[in-house]
Every structure is written in structure tokens, then in C-alpha cells.
């Protein structure tokens, strides 16, 4: 095998107290696809951001073509021949396909004015990936899959020696993915190396020459793909067994308090397709249902559609046999349904004070004739601050001034003050530190014991295995597997989430 095109040696990276990468070594050689595998939060994204110059500060060494280097910016990385296809689309929606494709190609002869040559160059780039798109169309009007392909075409046009692809097929259909795989083959023949991140086992084994597994920021193994069994890969990704909490004592439960029937959410970016397809489940009081699924599985959309914050196509949602209207979170809240969104930008109003945030979902209970009873509001807020141990200088401090974990607690407290009967938690521990996580876990357990029905979506399988009575696995919007606590199997869940037959 040839010498590495790019190599990381003992690289570590921390964000505050969190160690995202811990002495990881990784390299890519010419003519190979090196797959980077791991659960969400394992450090994959951090690693590729270091490779692509997004994070200039890290410990350890970065070698390119035999010399130690340090990228100060993504432009440095691009000059060193590294192109990155990010997961989030980085196209400019209002600009034309041509303009987007040639963006970042400054310095070429035709870069400013020659419209015909620009258009021809863009058309050629589209042709190479057999992309069916008008070079003059505004990018935002194209379907998501086509946008993803354009993003890929742009990165490929840079003639890079190393191409980093972060879940490039997450928005692609099968034939589009095939075209991408063909292009990857051609790139390898041309002597390039590819770093490839994917959650899909099929893809991993189809493309990979070597596989590196990261877990909790550390490298677990690097192996040739042909020597690594699928089961071994999954075990390496999930790690050791976590001591599972004892099964919740089965009580004589009443009938279902929360019932979702044949829920469907249409995908507005891709007409005719659905983000959530015919999902049904019922929950009893005190039961915790986990929803597992990778990016794009529709798990988050399922929760939002049940709450009414995302328009639902068909299906019904009932709390204690009362129907919840689609598209009115206020209606859902009044009927005892509450959602904690995964995105903190959507769960706290940063400019409002802590007490005001806590009371925001239950203003009706704290006001009389339209006037807010500030004494009662503050008393309730003070209790909640104590109960969740929210670290805040005062009740009037703007929520935006608190740490991420404490903002999350404020959002959680707001949900609890509304006295829900059913709580939908959308990845409630995303981006908070280990201590705050433990607090959230014990809170969920406590709430379930108090009789709340809880639907928990999480990107961390451990969390679901620890907290849930049942786990529903979604793949591409449809139910793929449902397990009861006594039948929990990490392997089966991951397998189903990746689209493998169960």
C-alpha cells in the first residue's frame, strides 16, 4: 500500500469539559475508501472538521503528503487538496445551480463574466454525476436529493486528492446513490482517497477498504473491511454492556392514555414521499416508549407531528380518548400533551428571563383576567429551579445567559409546569454534559413512576436501553422493529435502524 495522503497522529480535541476526541490516529491512502464508523456523538464529525480545517485548534499532529501541517482555515485544507462534503447542505438557495457549482472556484479564467463558459462548465459537472437539473434553476427549488448531488459535484470539481464525505447518501435515493458510488470508483482510480461516514451497513461494506470505529471520542479499532464481521462492527460501535436498570415493576395498568394511529407525515421537499409512514403505538400511564432511528428515520418528525408542531398527513392522535388537532401546539398542551424539542434554539426564548421561560407554557394557570400573577409565577418558578437544580443567578436572568445544560433544564421545567399527562422528549440530552445527563435520566424515571406516559427519542442507544419499557425502531419513516424490555437487543436495534432485515 502507498504512503498516506493525509494522516492524523494522536489527535485530541476538547470542548470545555467534554473530550470529543482522545488521541485518535487515522489515515487515508491513495485509492482507498476509509470508512469512519461510530454512533452519534462518537467523535466522527469532530475528526472530519479537523481534517477539513474547520477546527484549527487541536492537540496532536496532522501530516499531509509526508509533512506536518496545521490548517488555519477550510481554505488551507482546500489548498492542501482536501475537499469536504458536509452533512448540512452548504448551497446558497437563491443562487442558480451554475453559480453554486462555480462558487469557490475563484481564480479560474471564466470566474466572473463569461456566462456561456460558466454555464458549459457547470453543465459538464452536472453531466459527470448524471444530475438532471437546469443550470439556471435556483437551487432552493430543486428536490433535496438533487441538491445533495450538486453539493457532491461541487466538491468533486475541486480535483482534490482527499475527499471527505459525511453521510452523503442520507438524502439520496437508490439510483442517485449508485451514481455517486460510480464516481467514487472513478476517483479512486485517479489516485484519490476517500473518507466516508455512513450509518448504513450495506454502504459501508460495499465501499470500504478499511474501517475505523470511534466510540466516545476514542478509536476502538481500525481493520480491513474484509476481515471485520458485521456483528463485530456493531459491537465495536456500541461498546460494552451498560448495566441495565431493573425492569419497571409491572402494575395493573389502566387502558392507554396516549394513542397514535397510522400517523403519516409527508415530505414537502420530495412530493409523494413520506417522512413518517403509518406509525401506530399506544402508551399506558407510567410507560416509557423509546423511539430509535438514525438521522432521516423520521423519529423526530413523529414526535412533532403527534404534538401538532409539524403538519401531519393522515392519522390520529388521542390523549385520554380526546382527539388532538393537528397543527396547534397550544391545543395539544391544553389536552395534556407536551413536547420538549431537541433543538435548544426552539425550546427556550433566550431573551426572556428564567421565570418567564418556565411559565411560558402555563401562562393561563398563572394569570387572572389576562394579568399575570407574578407572585405565584415566581413561587412556582423558584420551586422548579430548586427541583431541577437549575444554576441561575436569579429568576430574572435571561435564559440565554445560562449554560447549555441549564437552558435545557429550563426547557424541561417549562414542560413540567404545564402539568402534562404525556411527555414527548426529543433527544433531551443532546449536547449536555454527563452530569446534567444523569440528572435528566433520574428525572425521566421519576416522572414515569409518577404516572406520566413518556415518548423518548434519543440518538444514543444506551439511553433508550436504560430508560425505556419498550423501544420502537424506525427506518426511513416506517416501523422496523418493536421490542419489549425483556427482549432488548442492541444488535437487533442497530441492525433494524440501518435497514437490515430483522
Amino acid at each position: 500500500m502507498s504512503a498516506p495522503l493525509i494522516e492524523l497522529r494522536g489527535v485530541s480535541k476538547s470542548f470545555g469539559a467534554t473530550r470529543a476526541l482522545d488521541r485518535v490516529s487515522f489515515d487515508v491512502r491513495a485509492g482507498e475508501v476509509h470508512v469512519l464508523a461510530g454512533e452519534n456523538g462518537a467523535g466522527k464529525s469532530t475528526l472530519i472538521r479537523i481534517l477539513s480545517g474547520v477546527y484549527p485548534d487541536f492537540e496532536g499532529e496532522l501530516w499531509v503528503g509526508g509533512t506536518a501541517q496545521r490548517f488555519r482555515s477550510p481554505q488551507d485544507a482546500a489548498r492542501a487538496g482536501i475537499a469536504t462534503i458536509h452533512q448540512e447542505l452548504s448551497l446558497i438557495g437563491a443562487m442558480s445551480v451554475t453559480d453554486n457549482l462555480l462558487l469557490g472556484q475563484a481564480g479560474r479564467a471564466y470566474h466572473l463574466i463569461d456566462r456561456r463558459r460558466r454555464r458549459a462548465a457547470a453543465a459538464k459537472m452536472l453531466e459527470r454525476l448524471a444530475i438532471d437539473a437546469d443550470p439556471d434553476a435556483a437551487v432552493e427549488r430543486l428536490p433535496l436529493g438533487t441538491r445533495q448531488l450538486i453539493e457532491i459535484a461541487r466538491a468533486l470539481a475541486l480535483d482534490a486528492r482527499v475527499i471527505v464525505m459525511d453521510e452523503p447518501t442520507s438524502a439520496l435515493g437508490e439510483s442517485e446513490s449508485e451514481r455517486l458510488f460510480d464516481r467514487i470508483g472513478a476517483l479512486l482510480e485517479g489516485g484519490a482517497g476517500v473518507v466516508y461516514i455512513s450509518h448504513r451497513l450495506e454502504e459501508i461494506y460495499r465501499l470500504a477498504h478499511r474501517i475505523t470505529v470511534l466510540r466516545d471520542g476514542a478509536r476502538v479499532l481500525t481493520a480491513d473491511a474484509k476481515d471485520l464481521l458485521r456483528a463485530e462492527l456493531i459491537r465495536a460501535m456500541t461498546g460494552a454492556e451498560l448495566a441495565a436498570r431493573g425492569a419497571r415493576e409491572a402494575s395493573a395498568r389502566a387502558e392507554a392514555i396516549f394513542r397514535v394511529d397510522r400517523l403519516r407525515v409527508d415530505d414537502h421537499d420530495r412530493p409523494g414521499r413520506a417522512l413518517v409512514r403509518d406509525v401506530s403505538f399506544a402508551l399506558e400511564q407510567g410507560e416509557v416508549l423509546g423511539v430509535a432511528g438514525l438521522e432521516g428515520s423520521g423519529a423526530s418528525e413523529l414526535l412533532h407531528a403527534a404534538f401538532g408542531s409539524v403538519a401531519r398527513g393522515t392519522g390520529s392522535v388521542r390523549v385520554a380518548n380526546e382527539s388532538i388537532q393537528p397543527s396547534s401546539p397550544g391545543h395539544a398542551i391544553r389536552h395534556g400533551l407536551m413536547l420538549l424539542a431537541s433543538d435548544r434554539e426552539a425550546s427556550v426564548v433566550k431573551s426572556l428571563g428564567v421565570a418567564a421561560n418556565l411559565a411560558l407554557s402555563s401562562l393561563g394557570a398563572f394569570s387572572r383576567a389576562g394579568f399575570i400573577d407574578r407572585r405565584r409565577e415566581h413561587a412556582a418558578a423558584r420551586d422548579m429551579v430548586a427541583r431541577l437544580s437549575i444554576a441561575t443567578p436569579s429568576l430574572l436572568t435571561p435564559a440565554g445567559a445560562l449554560s447549555g445544560g441549564n437552558q435545557q433544564k429550563v426547557a424541561f421545567g417549562r414542560c413540567l409546569l404545564a402539568r402534562p399527562r404525556v411527555l414527548l422528549l426529543d433527544d433531551p440530552t443532546r449536547g449536555i454534559d454527563v452530569g446534567a445527563k444523569a440528572h435528566v435520566y433520574s428525572l425521566i424515571d421519576e416522572l414515569a413512576r409518577d404516572g406520566l406516559a413518556i415518548v423518548l427519542r434519543s440518538t444514543e442507544l444506551e439511553e433508550l436501553l436504560t430508560l425505556c419499557d419498550r423501544i420502537l425502531v424506525l427506518f426511513r419513516g416506517a416501523p422496523a422493529l418493536e421490542l419489549r424490555r425483556d427482549g432488548f437487543s442492541r444488535e437487533r436495534i442497530l441492525h433494524a435502524a440501518m435497514g437490515g432485515a430483522s
Binding site: 391544553r334 431573551s351 418567564a356 394579568f371 399575570i372 443567578p393 445567559a401
Partner: protein, 329 residues
């Protein structure tokens, strides 16, 4: 950890006002600045626009803007003059009808923003043009005064209805205009709305983060609509006061007032990004701009120079406040 003081924005808003007052004290033009008449005049001059600024604050807190208030003021002034003079309606029904007109104008703007999802700038720009046109249509392009040409071609004339004098009256020995009292009442009401009512909390929440507010169950669209309705009501009240002070209904009156009202809100430190600020801050902004005009005119700056200086000073004051706010986190 940076220390957070709840009243920090208030302190920052006071600084530009203090500087303006200090300038007044230094360049006092042989004591003219210290004369009670000067302050009385400032108060009278700022009251009408001040009423607009109070309503504007409610809209700006929701991260919106209402460019139509100057035109709605003009429409209200014309309507009030029409109702009270040629139509011969009583004071109470006239006032009520004008308030309804202002509220409807606000309601339309609000629905365009909240339901039709037009950008506030566009929606209220359209209302600004429309209301001015309607004012001219109703008044046939002339000032509505105590004398008018009847349908039969005969000139009619009446005494100025007493409500005009009542609104423009001086109380407390001629030291305070009723219009200023109305201004104070509007400010107090807007303060209550923002600081004490559930609606106010929802206005701040929607302006701070509309998506988070929606997920928290706040009825975002009706909250936004109400802000524009209240702003329209304030414009109607300001229009009545304007008609009373001018003793007629001028279809051209109030042009440019919307920008002055916005400037006052911004000078107070309420952010155009929404979610922050308040009526207390706006009052300081109103005083700042009012005294700035007075100090400049006392010192015999030309109108042109006054406008240019005002523009420069608004920029300086807002930059200063942003800097201070950044320091406080």
C-alpha cells in the same frame, strides 16, 4: 461570569439623554434652556409622536415594524375632523369611530404579517400608502376645517366643537397640555400591557424566538396581530390629538412621524431584532429626541443641519448602547 443587571439597558438609555441635557445646560442661550417655557414646549412637541412611539414599541418587541402609523395618524385626524365638523357627530361617538378606524388599520397590517406572512416592512408600507390615500380621498385633498362647501354649493361654517379645546387644553395653570396627559396615559397602558399582562409576556416571547414560543403553546399569529391592532389604536389616539392641536384635519399631517417614532424607540434601546426593550426605555428615547431638537433649535441650527445632526446622533447613541450591552452580555 459577567454580572447581569436587569436595569442595565435603562442605564444605557439614560446616557444619551444626559448628554443632550448637558449640552442644553452648556449652550443654554442666555438661560433660555432653563426657562420653564422651554421644557413645557418640549413636552408639547413630543407628545403626539410619543403616543406613536408607545404603540410602535409593542410592535418592535415582536421583531416587527409599523411604517403606517404616520399615515394612520393622518387618516384619523381627517376622520375625526370630518365626524365632528361636517357630519356633526358628538365627541364621544366620533372618538370611538376613529379608534375603530385605527384598530382596523392595525388589524389589516397584523393579519398581513401574521396570516399572509408578509414581511412587516412590506405589509405596513402598503398600509402607509393606502391610509394616506384614504385620508386624501375622504378629505378630497383639502384640510377639513370649521368651514366647508355643502352638497348644495353653499358655504357652511360652525364654531370649533368644544372637544378640540378640551383636548388641547392646558391644565395645572397652563403648564401641562392635555395631550401630554393622554401621552402619559398611553405610555402607562402600554407599560401595563408589556409588563403585567399575559399578552405582554407573549409579545416578548414571540419577538425573542417565534419558533420556541410556538412550541411552548403561545398563539403566535394572534399575538402578533394584536400588537399591530394596539399600535393602530395608538396612531388613532395620536391622530385625534393632532387634529385638536391643529384645529383641523389635515390629510398631509403626520408624514414622516413613523420614522421619528421608530428613532425614539431605537434611541431608548429597544432592539429591532425583537424580544427586548420596553416602554420605559421608549420614554427616555422620546425625551432624548425631543430635547435634542430643542437644544439644536435654541442654538439656531438650520433645519437642514438639525436633520443631519439628528441622524448622526442616533447612530452614535445606538452604537454606544450596543457596545455597553455587549459588555454586559
Amino acid at each position: 461570569m459577567k454580572r447581569l443587571s436587569f436595569d442595565a439597558p435603562l442605564a444605557h438609555a439614560v446616557v444619551p439623554l444626559s448628554i443632550v441635557l448637558l449640552l442644553g445646560c452648556i449652550f443654554h442661550q442666555n438661560g433660555a434652556f432653563f426657562a420653564w417655557e422651554t421644557h413645557r414646549a418640549v413636552l408639547r412637541e413630543i407628545s403626539v409622536v410619543g403616543i406613536l412611539a408607545c404603540g410602535m414599541t409593542l410592535v418592535i418587541v415582536t421583531a416587527g415594524i409599523d411604517l403606517s402609523v404616520g399615515s394612520v395618524l393622518g387618516l384619523s385626524a381627517v376622520s375625526f375632523a370630518l365626524f365632528t365638523m361636517p357630519w356633526g357627530l358628538g365627541a364621544a361617538p366620533s372618538i370611538l369611530a376613529v379608534l375603530v378606524i385605527g384598530a382596523i388599520a392595525g388589524l389589516i397590517s397584523g393579519l398581513l404579517v401574521a396570516r399572509a406572512r408578509l414581511q412587516p416592512f412590506v405589509a405596513t408600507l402598503a398600509m402607509m400608502v393606502f391610509a394616506r390615500g384614504l385620508a386624501k380621498q375622504l378629505s378630497e385633498g383639502r384640510k377639513v376645517t370649521t368651514s366647508w362647501l355643502g352638497a348644495d354649493g353653499v358655504m357652511r361654517s360652525i364654531e370649533l366643537p368644544p372637544i378640540y379645546a378640551a383636548i388641547d387644553a392646558r391644565i395645572l395653570g397652563g403648564n401641562l397640555s392635555m395631550v401630554s396627559v393622554i401621552f402619559a396615559a398611553c405610555a402607562a397602558l402600554c407599560w401595563v400591557v408589556l409588563m403585567r399582562l399575559r399578552l405582554g409576556r407573549q409579545l416578548y416571547a414571540v419577538g425573542g424566538n417565534a419558533e420556541a414560543a410556538r412550541l411552548a403553546g403561545v398563539p403566535v399569529r394572534s399575538t402578533i396581530t394584536l400588537a399591530y391592532v394596539l399600535c393602530g389604536l395608538c396612531a388613532a389616539i395620536a391622530g385625534i390629538c393632532q387634529a385638536a392641536q391643529e384645529t383641523h384635519g389635515d390629510p398631509e399631517t403626520g408624514a414622516g412621524y413613523e420614522l421619528e417614532a421608530i428613532a425614539m424607540v431605537v434611541l431608548g434601546g429597544t432592539s429591532l431584532m425583537g424580544g427586548r426593550g420596553g416602554v420605559g426605555l421608549t420614554l427616555i428615547g422620546v425625551l432624548t429626541l425631543g430635547y435634542l431638537h430643542k437644544v439644536l433649535s435654541l442654538n439656531a441650527f438650520s433645519t437642514e443641519a438639525r436633520l443631519m445632526l439628528t441622524g448622526a446622533i442616533i447612530v452614535a447613541a445606538v452604537l454606544f448602547q450596543r457596545r455597553m450591552a455587549g459588555r454586559d452580555g
